[in-house]
């Protein structure tokens, strides 16, 4: 047997090839966290996505400022709307780039070769995209406090931010994984996603506006419920459909 100049033999063979007995759920969440960690680590090195999303968000806020030409009272009224338009546009950007990267490098094949449930890959990616959106919001919200003079950092509003971005990221990850295979890949995602994400937008804007205007909980709660319902339904749908997206 020829011996290479580096090292001698292959690493010792595993005499019991089967993985040690762990619960299936444990293995599943390990896979999810592995995918999530991988996306976060890679992104924090390159900061490709986050910087693009952040700069874009700030630009959108700026453009709205000039386009809408509002007086102080009117500006306070539209704060919730502008916040969510910004989130939606920068979210789309992030989703697009996140899945394009996987496809272009062919690394999705690497993921698909691993013995994990396909849906775990989806959950990991969706969580990653959601976290990116939240990180951007964490920077943008203080900007809003300054520019729009609104108490954006209230817990209830943050709840809406969390739920709204979750809904958007969950459907968005599924649709983006399809859009990247299309020819007009960059425009395909917004065309697919925005009509379907209208409930999120409506509920998030109305809910956020309600919080800012200090409406009674009774009024705001229906938006809260709508968001929860949407999130649950579409997470379930995406979870089941992802398998069909990646199979060939």
């Amino acid at each position: 047997m020829t011996q290479s100049s580096r090292g001698e033999r292959l690493p010792a063979a595993n005499s019991s090839p089967a993985a040690p007995a762990r619960s299936a759920a444990g293995a599943y969440w390990r896979a999810v966290s592995a995918v999530l960690w991988k996306d976060l680590a890679a992104e924090f090195r390159s900061k490709e996505l986050l910087s693009a999303m952040l700069v874009f968000s700030l630009l959108v806020v700026l453009i709205f400022n000039f386009a809408l030409q509002l007086d102080r009272a009117a500006r306070e009224n539209v704060a919730a709307g502008v916040l969510w338009v910004t989130a939606v546009f920068s979210g789309t950007l992030g989703l697009n780039r996140s899945l394009s990267q996987e496809k272009d490098r062919g690394s999705l094949d690497g993921l698909l070769l691993t013995p994990v449930d396909r849906s775990a890959i989806y959950v990991g990616k969706a969580l990653g995209n959601w976290l990116f959106m939240l990180l951007v919001q964490a920077v943008i919200l203080p900007v809003f406090v300054v520019l729009y003079n609104q108490p954006m950092l209230q817990p209830l509003l943050l709840v809406f931010v969390v739920l709204g971005t979750l809904g958007y990221a969950s459907v968005g990850t599924l649709l983006a994984s399809m859009a990247v295979h299309s020819r007009a890949r960059d425009v395909m995602l917004p065309i697919l996603l925005l009509p379907v994400a209208v409930p999120v937008l409506v509920a998030a804007v109305q809910g956020s506006a309600g919080v800012l205007e200090q409406r009674a909980w009774d009024e705001i709660s229906q938006w809260f419920n709508l968001l929860i319902g949407y999130d649950v339904i579409f997470l379930a749908v995406a979870y089941m459909a992802f398998d069909y997206v990646v199979e060939e």
């Binding site: 090292g7 592995a34 094949d109």
Partner: protein
């Protein structure tokens, strides 16, 4: 062990595989050759569970595809000509990620593999700073670190310098000695025939010939290959 029966794959209306029957016993090392467009990569993609057949059945490592694909993947290792690595992660992080995904918890094995492919010194460097050859070496480690029973290789020598090629030769021969099942796609007739015990020739979507190394001479093999491919 790899087995297929009447395996066919269509892309829309275009048939790529037209009924492939093959049987590779456990521990065999088989080279898969054929002209461009014959369907070699498609066949490998089906066997590695990345694609589903349009018709027919396949069994890999004792598991039926596509029904038991997830179990099959546990025992499968794939080394393709694309490295399938994450450029923004270090070599070590790449391997650790795949180790987690394959349920390999033994950290020492990662180190051993890094040393074996000669990248121990660069373990903390980002993969996007690696040359093509180095990425391919890391890809070899990636594909084998979970100690698969069946190893599928699609033109794995692509991008490797002579040193890297010698390394892969050694690794592949060791795997064969350890009775792992190997199926390798290669364009290099002489090299493939020298390494493997048997060569399958895929042409026009079917296995047209199966030639054992202990039955014919290398020169004769080249002639037979041409004859089969020309049809």
């Amino acid at each position: 062990m790899i087995e297929t029966r009447a395996l066919a794959k269509n892309f829309g209306l275009k048939p790529v595989l037209r009924g492939v029957d093959l049987r590779i016993e456990a521990g065999e090392f088989v080279a898969l050759m054929g002209p461009n467009g014959a369907g070699k990569t498609t066949l490998l993609r089906i066997l590695s569970t990345l694609a589903r057949p349009s018709f027919g059945a396949a069994r890999v490592a004792g598991f039926l595809l596509p029904a038991q694909a997830e179990q099959a993947r546990r025992r499968l290792g794939v080394i393709a000509h694309q490295p399938l690595l994450y450029g923004d992660l270090t070599a070590e992080e790449n391997l650790r990620f795949y180790a987690r995904m394959y349920g390999v918890s033994d950290g020492a094995r990662l180190t051993e593999w890094l040393e074996r492919v000669g990248l121990a010194a660069r373990r903390r460097d980002l993969v996007r700073t690696f040359s093509r050859g180095m990425q391919q070496r890391l890809a070899i480690a990636r594909g084998l670190l979970h100690d698969p029973d069946v190893v599928l290789l699609d033109e794995p020598y692509t991008g490797l310098d002579p040193d890297g090629a010698a390394l892969l030769d050694a690794i592949v021969q060791e795997l064969a000695a350890r009775r792992r099942t190997l199926l390798m796609i290669t364009h290099d007739l002489a090299h493939g025939f020298a390494l493997a015990e048997r060569a399958l020739i895929l042409a026009r979507g079917r296995i047209e010939a199966s030639l054992r190394r202990d039955e014919i001479a290398p020169a004769e093999f080249a002639r037979r290959y041409d004859a089969v491919v020309k049809g």
